[in-house]
Amino acid sequence: MPIEKMTDFSITSMQVLDEHGNLDQELEPKIEPSRLVEMYRVMKLARQVDERALKLQRQGRIGTFAPSIGQEAASAGAVFAMEPKDWLVSAFRELAGWLARGMPVESFFLYYNGYEEANLYAKERRILPISIIVGSQLPHAVGLGYALQYRNEENTAVVAFMGDGATSQGDFHEALNLAGLWKAPVVFVCQNNHWAISIPVSKQSASRTLAQKAIAYDITGVQVDGNDILGMYVATRQALERAKNGEGPTFIEAVTYRTMMHTTSDDPNRYRSEKEVTSWWNRDPIPRFRKYLQGKGLWDEAQETRLGQELDGQIEQAVGRFEAFRPEMPDAPFEHVFGTRHAVIEAQRREFLRQLNPEDSDG
């Protein structure tokens, strides 16, 4: 056996609905009409929340934030494939996915205005909130998956999001390796939006696809058109099924594009061309899916106009609630550093409160 082929691998790419609205009927998922409309509604809501947030940010009413305009299908498609008892592990650009899972809109604004209270909603919905340290959330997903196995929670799995940049991190590798070993019921969804701030994906890795990174762990890897909500739905559904059947994790590379700045602190003109951005606007997931609904007779212009207004109204109310929010405890950090009380910390809490209100101090 001087030179012998050991193993063969290949990576496939999937698309159900292409950018011109062409449908692959064999792959088309069977989804109820009302749910299809709901999927559309969530993408639109996400888009309008981002647009509103851009304005709020410019007016100084919220801080820096990360828009996900153009990526709505990638996270929404995956989340619509989930069941309520599945876990969602967040990176930070999954607005449509969170909304699909019922995040209150004001939580988004609260988060970007610097309040932990933004995250109060998350546990009930089995969501792990925004994880800023790139890639660091992936081991959590594997741990959650392990816990599901440990507790014999059947038919339950985890969907974990990340950006393309996360694939360069050590934690990505360690997490996927463990997931493979433990056959953890985890679906990793990598939103390859082509950029990590100013770094194009070609400078994250020499690998031709991100999907092929799954081979290192002998887990299923697949590339999906991330701007095709049906493709994302189908791929995630299949992966979740495998996960729930004990067939282990899947890595989905959702090919999409960050059409806006990284965050509102970023100026993408420094590093990429308008032309590139425009070419991706043509692949916008929202009009594409609208055409699909129209073709099915589920949608028309009037509904479109009405939805836009309805969502604006919903967002307006959320802004109202957000701006009416008054945090209760300035000393919340002391309350929540531990679940137990300790003398040094309580002494500091008193010191803190004294300094806040020097007059009504009790010493």
């Binding site: 660091s136 959650l144 679940g339």
Partner: protein, 326 residues
């Protein structure tokens, strides 16, 4: 009641807590079949099976990272880091997530987790196997750092650590693993995290120490007491953070003199924090500067030179005498 060494005592705590709480599980490199390189987890695989005793690949960051996920789902993972010298790889997960989930969600989520790690020098081990870097953990808000010193308190603190609702870094002085035995009650016993232990009362001077420094400290104290006919108070810190400052202050208010014995390098070590706390609340009671008997601000030498750098009975004794004579 049996006479156990520290390895056996910790094993007892792990075994009993796992027995009584099915949510407790343990993971680490070589903790299963091998029973741990120090045999701390010996026999647990047989008792609890592969699902609860996980042999992991060499991936410290993901060990703690997956444990965070398990804890968020309500389990109580115990992670063994084979040697504290490899614990720097878990800093990202510890600082970034384990310590923060409670505060990030105002208590909705929390992370009950124990990270066990043998630490410290004196066992002729290779590079990275001798450091004492408890100060790094002690500086992280949201993390509790505990260091036992004897079999009995190792067991009772481990019980508390496992039951604690928050991440506890549990540093085990490997030099003391098999150095001596102590009576350890059969029934589970806990000792509160955040409290010192008064090892012996005294009025001439307070010596504060922790971990493997307790034994040489007691010997040094004995020598001084024998020679000078006085009583020295010895306090075992046990919890590095959150620190039991009130107890330390009370002691120093009584004795007016203190020595802190620390295996770690001096700069930004735990001794400095102890001194700062005493400065805050008991400066006027001090009759002498508080003496730090510590390692030095050098990279830990390979083991041939290592012992010269760790505080010895002689150095501790000299520190006590100097402080008494001041």
């Amino acid at each position: 009641m049996a006479k156990l060494n520290m390895v056996q005592a910790i094993n007892l705590a792990l075994s009993q807590e796992m027995q009584s709480d099915p949510d407790v599980l343990l993971m680490g490199e070589d903790v299963g079949v091998d029973g741990g390189v120090f045999r701390v987890t010996d026999g647990l695989l047989e008792k609890f099976g592969e699902k609860r005793i996980l042999d992991t690949p060499i991936a410290e960051s993901a060990m703690v990272g997956t444990a965070v996920g398990m804890a968020l789902a309500g389990l109580k993972p115990i992670v063994e880091i084979q040697f504290s010298g490899f614990s720097y790889l878990i800093f990202g997960q510890l600082e970034g997530h384990a310590s923060r989930y409670r505060s990030r969600t105002h208590g909705r989520y929390h992370v009950p987790m124990v990270v066990r790690m043998p630490y410290g020098g004196g066992v002729r081990a290779l590079e990275h196997h001798s450091e004492s870097r408890e100060a790094l953990y002690g500086h992280l808000p949201g993390v509790k750092t505990v260091i036992p010193s004897t079999p009995r308190n190792a067991r009772s603190l481990m019980v508390s650590a496992i039951r604690d609702p928050d991440p506890v870094v549990f540093m085990e002085p490997k030099r003391s693993y098999r150095a001596f035995r102590e009576e350890v009650p059969d029934d589970p016993e806990s000792y509160p995290i955040g409290k010192v232990m008064l090892v012996k009362p005294g009025d001439a001077l307070s010596v504060i120490c922790w971990g493997a420094m307790l034994r040489p400290t007691l010997q040094a104290v004995e020598r001084v007491e024998a020679a000078r006919k006085l009583a020295i108070e010895v306090i075992d810190l046990l919890t590095i953070a959150p620190m039991d400052q009130p107890a330390l202050i009370e002691s120093v208010k009584k004795t007016g003199r203190a020595v802190v014995v620390q295996e770690a390098p001096r700069t930004l070590g735990v001794a400095s924090e102890i001194i700062a706390g005493i400065n805050d609340h008991a400066l006027l009671y001090l009759e002498a500067p508080i003496k730090r008997v510590t390692n030095f601000d050098v990279v830990t030498p390979f083991f041939a030179r290592e012992l010269q750098y760790i505080p010895t009975i002689e150095r501790i004794q000299a520190g006590i005498e100097e402080t008494l004579d001041f």
